[in-house]
């Protein structure tokens, strides 16, 4: 049991640190909840430290905060346009939440809440439902024209419309699975390689150790890129709902 509990999947297990039960629903405060809390605190601390002095010429932390603001703001403006700026706080929150979830999860002995499909699925489903509501409230039934771009010849439409409908409904699945698979694979790989370091010992252990080093760098990159991809795809879906074509 001991060997199994420290296998590559052990890191994904939830530990019920503060058991809570509300009406038969288990909402215990777990290690997952702790890292979600840490993501909030890290984001708050970053922006608190960064904007403490509010100087004309930014300090290092202030320029980091400004850079993030302009990066996400630019992403929303470029992909959705000015009408999309109303959703900028949401996209910024989404980006920071996933970014810190991914990056904090790379610390040894930490927990990656984005490696759990249910977390990603809730985020992706929320975006999917919100985008659909925004689309119908802005364009009414005309929003259905999203499935058939103007100028499509009728014979092509018979093939195109089912494909478009399918790709629309597959969005929350691909959005959540992409992040889940990336986080899961990276962490399992790190854990397995790290296990080889122990089993090979001080001599040949240097080979998997070098691999762990390289993969860790790669995973830092993946952590940032996946947060970006999640936010970017949300922007693209939002653009469909706001600007249609």
């Amino acid at each position: 049991m001991a060997a199994e509990s420290h296998g590559p999947m052990h890191q994904f297990e939830l530990q019920r640190w503060i058991p809570l039960d509300v009406g038969g629903l288990d909402i215990s405060y777990t290690n997952s909840a702790l890292f979600m809390t840490l993501a909030v605190l890290a984001t708050f601390s970053l922006f608190w430290v960064a904007t403490r002095h509010r100087t004309m010429v930014p300090s290092r932390w202030q320029s980091v905060a400004e850079l993030m603001y302009e990066f996400v703001g630019g992403m929303v403006k470029d992909n959705v346009g000015h009408a999309g700026m109303a959703y900028f706080p949401f996209i910024f929150t989404l980006f920071m939440f996933i970014l810190f979830g991914n990056v904090l999860g790379l610390l040894p002995y930490s927990f990656t809440f984005t490696s759990h499909i249910v977390v990603n699925a809730v985020l992706a489903l929320f975006i999917f439902v919100a985008v659909t509501i925004i689309g119908f409230s802005r364009h009414g039934l005309h929003y259905f024209s999203l499935f058939c771009p103007p100028g499509t010849p009728l014979p092509v439409a018979f093939v195109l419309v089912p494909i478009e409908i399918m790709s629309y409904f597959i969005r929350p699945v691909s959005l959540s699975l992409r992040l889940f698979a990336n986080m899961l694979a990276g962490h399992v790989l790190l854990k397995v390689l790290a296990g080889f370091v122990i089993s090979l010992g001080l001599g040949f252990g240097i080979v998997p150790f070098a691999a762990v080093f390289g993969v860790t760098l790669l995973e830092i990159m993946v952590a940032v890129i996946q947060a970006y991809v999640f936010a970017l795809l949300s922007c693209i879906y939002l653009n469909d709902a706001i600007n249609l074509h």
Binding site: L14, I27, T30, A33, T43, F47, F90, F113, H116
Partner: protein, 163 residues
């Protein structure tokens, strides 16, 4: 796989909603307003500098225009003064030239009169000398004593022909 244990879903979803809402509050009510304040302040600062630069440039342009106008006026004035002076000088010069010309003309006329007088005097003397010489020559050659009036007439005619 722990990911597919439905017993943990409720807790994860609950804390996801709670923390995500908390983070949304942090971002929307704290981070974004503060960063926007900084960016707006910077933009305002830069704009103020640009405005000041534009105002200074306008001032410079006005000063240059004023200078150019003053310069053009001065140049015009200088030309007028010079033109007036030239006309004045030309008038004075003309007057002086006229006076001198008249003076010189008078002197020339006087000199010509004097020369004419001297010339006629000289011609008169030549006549009498020629007459004397002629009478003497006639007397020596022929031994004749001719009438003075006759000789004078002959010499006068000869001189007239020679002239």
């Amino acid at each position: 796989m722990p990911q597919f244990d439905p017993a943990t879903f409720a807790s994860q979803i609950f804390w996801l909603v709670v923390t995500f809402l908390a983070l949304y509050a942090v971002i929307a009510k704290f981070a974004i307003p503060r960063i926007e304040e900084i960016l707006e302040q910077r933009a305002r600062f830069v704009q103020e500098d640009l405005d000041r630069a534009a105002a200074l440039k306008a001032d410079t342009d006005t000063a240059i225009a004023t200078y150019e106008k003053a310069m053009a006026a001065a140049r015009n004035q200088a030309r007028d003064v010079m033109l007036a002076a030239t006309i004045e000088l030309k008038k004075v010069a003309d007057e002086k030239t006229a006076v001198v010309t008249a003076e010189v003309g008078k002197q020339i006329t006087d000199a010509e009169t004097r020369i004419e007088k001297a010339k006629s005097e000289a011609v008169g003397s030549i006549k009498s000398i020629a007459a004397d010489t002629a009478r003497e020559a006639v007397a020596r050659i022929s031994g004749l004593s001719l009438d003075a009036a006759k000789i004078d007439a002959a010499v006068g005619a000869a001189l007239k022909d020679a002239r």
